[in-house]
């Protein structure tokens, strides 16, 4: 519980400390020190009413001590560099920071992590580490890559931020649209990592999904007239609104068909629908808006049978023209199967078999297995379920696939 609080608040505290100390490394060190104090004292004294403010104050004092010690050792030039940070740290108040200041700090950190001068693969890893407090090991599991590779990628990105002079601020208005793509992509990946864990024991990590939604909201506040920004928030709200009851009492994932739709968050769905309409009226439907529209059609439908599948296929056609990825094609095949029957969906999937990434993606095999099952091709369906299991999905998906395999095998 305490670890959880620290992780949830950590990103915000780190963002403020980076501004105060002028260095990401110093901020991380100070936060690390403060966390050690918290782990020692909170179990005894209880979690403070405002954990973020508590952590910020303790970390700020730690950073100040550290800088003063460093300054005593160092030559005068180094002292001059530190002087600014010492002033910032010493002058900062112990009072909790006003909400707007914290949010501004957080946005700065988001844009720093997503700077286009950093390798795209490093941006997401860095954001998961700094904004969501995931460990290198957790990120490595999410990306199915060795922990050492992820560690190196993060260390390199941090070294480059410091050495290359990547600024810690929200870019000028003129540069914002250019920078936005990278930021939206990172928030989207943060969400999907939380919404559907690529690996591990749980199907979803609600805290990560919530953090992504908070960030998407901040971006909409920053750029209220950017349709893709609004589209992303709508997409995340609609998808997250359906997260209740995604896993049943036995730990099995509940399919959309079996979902208890009364447990879905109606307020979030209403907001998502309103935002999607608002974004689409701007007349430039980008990938996030289209995905939001698709997600909303699922969220407002009374059942799978009563879902507006023809409209969903149409939206996937538009999406495919802008985002011709394997995932979009597989999802479109699912929608086509609902309109024209499972055989039509299967034909589309079979055409994707040689696409890069298809064979190692459990969902490709799982969708194919389901359609094969529905056309009565039990032997082929069993083979496809086995292929899906061979891709090592998360534990919940694995159990589901095993049950289905048992039914057809």
């Amino acid at each position: 519980m305490i670890e959880e609080t620290i992780r949830v608040e950590g990103g915000r505290v780190l963002a403020t400390l980076t501004r105060l100390t002028g260095s990401l490394d110093r901020a991380e060190d100070a936060l690390g020190d403060a966390v050690l104090v918290a782990l020692e004292r909170w179990p005894v004294e209880g979690v403070p009413r405002n954990p973020a403010a508590w952590l910020t104050t303790v970390a700020r004092r730690k950073a100040l001590d550290h800088l003063r010690r460093e300054a005593q050792r160092d030559d005068r030039e180094a002292l001059a560099v530190h002087e600014l940070a010492v002033h910032e740290l010493a002058d900062a108040s112990d009072e909790p920071l006003p909400w707007g200041v914290v949010e501004d700090d957080l946005l700065r950190l988001v844009f720093t992590c997503c700077h286009p001068a950093l390798a795209p693969s490093a941006r997401v890893a860095l954001a998961l580490r700094l904004l969501c407090g995931l460990t290198t090991e957790e990120i490595a599991r999410a990306f199915l890559e060795p922990s050492a590779t992820i560690g190196q990628r993060i260390a390199r990105a941090k070294a480059k931020i410091a050495a290359a002079g990547i600024p810690y601020r929200v870019p000028e208005a003129a540069d914002l649209p250019e920078r936005l793509d990278a930021v939206l992509a990172v928030v989207y990946v943060l969400f999907t990592t939380g919404h559907h864990s690529p690996m591990g024991d749980a199907l979803q990590r609600v805290d990560l999904a919530r953090e992504a939604i908070r960030l998407a909201r901040l971006l909409v506040e920053l750029l209220p007239h950017e349709p893709e920004c609004v589209g992303l928030l709508a997409l995340l709200l609609s998808a997250h609104a359906r997260s209740h009851g995604r896993v049943d009492e036995l730990g099995q994932p509940r399919l959309l068909a079996d979902a208890d739709r009364s447990r879905w968050d109606r307020d979030a769905i209403t907001e998502a629908v309103t935002l999607t309409g608002q974004a689409l009226r701007a007349g430039s439907p980008g990938p996030y808006q289209l995905q939001a529209a698709i997600s909303c059609l699922h969220s407002v439908a009374p059942s799978v049978a009563a879902t507006d599948w023809p409209q969903i296929v149409l939206l996937y056609d538009l999406l495919l023209a802008r985002l011709p990825t394997l995932a979009v094609r597989v999802n479109r095949a699912v929608a086509v199967a609902e309109v024209d029957g499972p055989a039509a969906g299967l034909a589309l999937l079979d055409a994707l078999r040689d696409e890069r990434g298809a064979q190692t993606w459990h969902l490709f095999h799982a969708v194919r297995a389901d359609l094969l099952r529905r056309v009565g091709a039990k032997v082929q369906a069993a083979e496809a379920y086995r292929q899906a299991l061979a891709c090592e999905p998360n534990a919940v998906d694995r159990r589901f696939l095993e049950v289905r395999l048992g039914e057809v095998g």
Binding site: H115, P116, A117, L118, A119, A122, R156, A159, K160, A163, A164, G165, I166, P167, P171, E172, D175, E178
Partner: protein
């Protein structure tokens, strides 16, 4: 008098950072060069390592959009055509200037931005 630019290439393993105790002897040899050629040296700078480089290209001509990539420029048919030393507050400010260098927006051109070596 004609001017010549001497470009310095060294293996990645040869670079020693200023906080390494061996840095002084690494630099000593450069200082000796300075003593020999000082009368002719008109300028120069030490560059930070290529891992800290950013390469930019302005897509769609002079007024187009800046595309940044992490890392140094990998030479192909292009050749090193010159250099500027730019003073700028941070990388964004440096890019805002460097995007106007014709090689950044002319077909096939690229501009690599490297910080100067820290502590020098």
């Amino acid at each position: 008098m004609p001017q010549f630019i001497a470009l310095i290439y060294e293996p990645a393993t040869a670079r020693i950072s200023p906080d390494n105790p061996q840095f002084a002897s690494y630099m000593q040899a450069y200082n000796e060069f300075g003593a020999v050629a000082g009368h002719a040296i008109r300028g120069g700078a030490a560059l930070d390592v290529p891992q800290h480089a950013t390469t930019i290209h302005v897509e769609g001509g002079r007024e187009g959009r800046v595309v940044m990539t992490d890392g140094p420029f990998a030479e192909g048919k292009e050749f090193l055509g010159g250099f500027y030393i730019l003073e700028a507050e941070d990388l964004d400010a440096a890019v805002a200037l460097a995007r106007h260098i014709p090689a950044a927006w002319r077909d096939g051109g690229r501009v690599e931005i490297r910080p100067s070596m820290p502590g020098m």
